[in-house]
Symmetry: D2
Subunit: 322 residues, 4 copies
């Protein structure tokens, strides 16, 4: 898309019923909007309808029919709907979604649908969590600078000081939040991290090889999407040093999975996966190096899709409108 | 899709304009239909809109509002529109498209769109053209028997007798149409092939490693889609024995391309491509064997998509709604 | 390899020491042999040396220095060495390995190495085990007929009668060995299967989607390699209906793994793995179909490598000299 | 390889004859060396033998049998042999190859083989040529810092000043050599580049999206390997703006090829190739972005293999001992 006109992107889902495609398209059309992309999916097993629509809301935005967005339903319902249904969008935030977006959310509710709407005029800000490994960190920052993402990184948080200089070299504020042993220290560190996220107005977090588990409490308190990357193997390996186990087992493929973080480790809704081939000639070090390359591309793709509002989470899985 | 209700699948395209998604969906909705899938694409460079819609036309089909399909425009226009715009569908054929399909074609024309509509109640019949190589032949027939295709093979035509027994073993009539040298013989052979295609009512042809070029006259006379498979290399090689050239050049990848046949050899709209990795350890024979495997999967995928009405041709390329 | 001269292929491994490459090559050279291929691997973690050598034993074979093969060590040791070290080769079998092969095995033993030697003059015969699914069955048989394998299928054994006609259509004897419930019936069925394997002189078994587990007793009694194919997922799924679980979990890749069968289900040394990409648009049926295609190519590759004596098993993994 | 003992890596090729594997291994063994890896290849069509051997020359190195390396043949022959046969190694350089390496080169010559030998104690220095695009530049430098390459980048040369700050941020000297129009200016610029290469002692050059063609004279004068990366398509496209042409043609795959530069543009021996899948949904900008990612990984792989002395060039192609 090279169009410079502001667009809205809605992700919506709800019980399937006859006429949903016609109704959403009709609503936009009648208000003078022009649909640029529309993609639907139907989960025939659970009878759920999913849709991503991107449209130019001309000339309605800036001059919507009076009262529609504000009257249709109480604001708290809107917030609840969007927060509970998605880790990725900012549906109910006052000011972040203009009145046309709000009107669409109200309209979708009348169809029994939960909707989140993002505006192309708003570039979300996020925070990178890192530890010592720097491959995903450099890759994401350089891609950001190359214009690959529809969002920006506001700062870097790390439990180690190693990447401080590199971050500052990129012009990114770096916050060292060390993690001492013990539950109390962990709680205090997460409180400090949350404080930083609030201060920069972070709307998403990328765990770029951040080697710590975030608590369920942290995820709930933050309330915004957190994307993680981890290695994946066929078969899977429990316990530590998975690359060593994979090498020991003689696997022929190693993989990486990017997913939304949940309170259950490495078990959130999958956004993207990929694999690379290995042979007996590859040492454990080779596997780790190949794993690094995979992690970079898989995480970058997940971040790109997320920021383009292409990922809709429901249940334990994602619909990726690529 | 496991639904047993008959569905219609429309492929349409035309100049982009505001409201097309709303209008097509609205038309179906108002007539009582239920959209199962809808996928759109916009070529922003040429300002062309493309859409594939699959819907259950209940209860309109069988009892359409009187006269719509037959009155809206003269039948010859409908035939011309669908034949000129697509190598794959049967838009304008009397009896093959029921009245609701015809009504949709008429409606699309009012939007300046060319549409073709296929009905799930009709399984198109096609013909396999083969020579001596049997890998694509066996693969396609066995996939057909396994239920992978939304169409059937009615018979086999070959310029060699080699696969006669194998075809009959599958219960497929086999026609040996030898090709003698000379232009006159070629014309006669194509006439004989066309006669067979007419007799079986072939709606598509698959060139499953048929090692002869079909003339522009044949393609025009047949007037239906012909799908071909050929090897592809990076870089490309002109002249004969391409696998030998690729081996000589030390390529690291070999590829295959499935495309609609046109009068220009190996140059029609591409449906599917794939590659496989090779090394210096692979002999020319290995390259050829790997090429065979590629050809099988690439051609099968192209046939599957074509028969599911997922391929829309425009200009020199395809939109594949996969 | 298009050379028509008979070749020997040795797979050997043992504790690494200085000079192994020179010694094995020197032994062959001094006896007048010509090495066509030689590939080595060193497991630096465990200090194990692995080698595959293919050579033309001219003019030694047919007229070897008297007594070397038979004197060097007692035959029972040779058998034990080769059977215990590999699921794939026929190192110690009288008559199946000519005297030069035997001499090489003796020589390797003096280096502390276990060797198996196969002769290109011998095409091993194997048996296909199938149930109802026919995709791997057809694929393997057709590849065999196309000359892709350095071995032949002697017969088909199934616990269901479904593929009897297809097998016979290919000229393959079909044995229906039904499996009634209960331990006693299972033991009797395996005894019947072993009897068939003995009668045809089966040197390997391919489980081409044979949906039964072979007992440890069966594997031990047969004493030859058994290759199995199964689906693989990231993450792995325990329990039944894995494709449904994978669909439920929203995986983006599905995989297949070919491995040597061991008494532990789906856990033997891996020969080959591959994956294919899926999206939310794919139904469970699509996943199963894509899984079928994967299973075919992955199993065929494993069978090809095995029959070309490219797979060396040690510990729980394989070295594949591809 | 985590061994800290210095190793030698020989790449050799010549007319095939009986006993070559035994002789090279025997020579190393007799002088007390220990072979770590040995990989052979035979081009059966042209009857050429290729080998890569890596060994620990203990205790010969540092205390070789007197006179072997220096007596065997005149130094100029050695230089000619290694330079003419390979773009990648430093066979004949005084001081860069120790006496054992020289002795091996002499020995190989007695077998009719051309050999180049690299020592693990020497890390070659190279120069990055860039223009404005920075993706390959950042990727290579960061991989170098991560320890992925067995060599180092000594400086950066560019025809544009754009990447000056980025290079210096990495601690890399940056030389701006602008290219004015006209033949004379081009000759002068190349002379300036060659002067820089001489001053830093560059042993290889990487064209990291350097958008200028180097003359045959430059390549001959430099006399060391120059690795280039370019996009590749199926089919190939002549003329400018290839991504636009590929988009226009509706290709389903785009590729990248890393190769040694020759006087014929984009036509040198191929080191590595890869592709990525695209669809009609991808804009030209998407294709270009995906092409950037491909270029990074393909070029990095080629550089890694080259610096590990895994690439042997002969005729118009490469043997990559991966």
């Amino acid at each position: 898309m090279t169009s410079s006109a502001p667009t809205l992107i809605a992700l919506l889902h709800g019980p399937d019923q006859r006429g949903l495609v016609a109704r959403t398209a009709g609503w936009i059309f009648e208000r003078g909007g022009n649909i640029l992309h529309a993609d639907q999916h139907r989960d025939t097993e659970y009878n759920v309808f999913f849709q991503r629509i991107e449209w130019v809301p001309v000339p309605a935005v800036g001059n919507p029919p009076a009262g529609i967005a504000s009257v249709a339903r109480p604001p708290e319902a809107r917030v609840a709907a969007s927060v509970s249904s998605s880790p990725g969008l900012k549906g109910g935030e006052a000011g972040a979604v203009d009145s046309e977006a709000a009107a669409f959310i109200d309209f979708a509710a009348t169809l029994g649908m939960v909707a989140q709407v993002a505006s192309s005029t708003h570039r979300p800000k996020g925070t990178l969590f890192v530890s010592k490994a720097d491959h995903c960190f450099h890759d994401l920052v350089l891609r950001g600078k190359a214009g690959e993402f529809a969002g920006d990184f506001a700062c870097v948080i790390s439990n180690h000081p190693d990447l401080a200089d590199a971050a500052r070299g990129y012009g990114l504020p770096f916050h060292h939040v060390p993690l001492a042993a013990g539950t109390k220290a962990a709680v205090e560190a997460e409180a400090q991290q949350l404080q930083i996220l609030r201060e920069v107005g972070a709307e998403f977090v990328i765990l770029a090889r951040y080697m710590q588990v975030l608590s369920g409490g942290f995820l709930q308190e933050f309330g915004r999407p957190v994307i993680n990357i981890h290695h994946s193997f066929l078969p899977a390996f429990a316990g530590g040093r998975p690359y060593h186990q994979a090498h020991e087992r003689g696997v022929k493929l190693i993989g990486a999975t990017a997913h939304y973080a949940t309170a259950v480790l490495d078990d959130g809704p999958i956004i993207q996966q990929d694999v690379v081939r290995v042979t007996h000639r590859h040492s454990v070090e080779d596997l780790i190096r190949k794993g690094r390359d995979l992690e970079k591309t898989v995480l970058a793709q997940a971040v790109r899709w997320h920021l383009e509002n292409r990922v809709l989470v429901y249940g334990h899985k994602t619909v990726v409108f690529d």
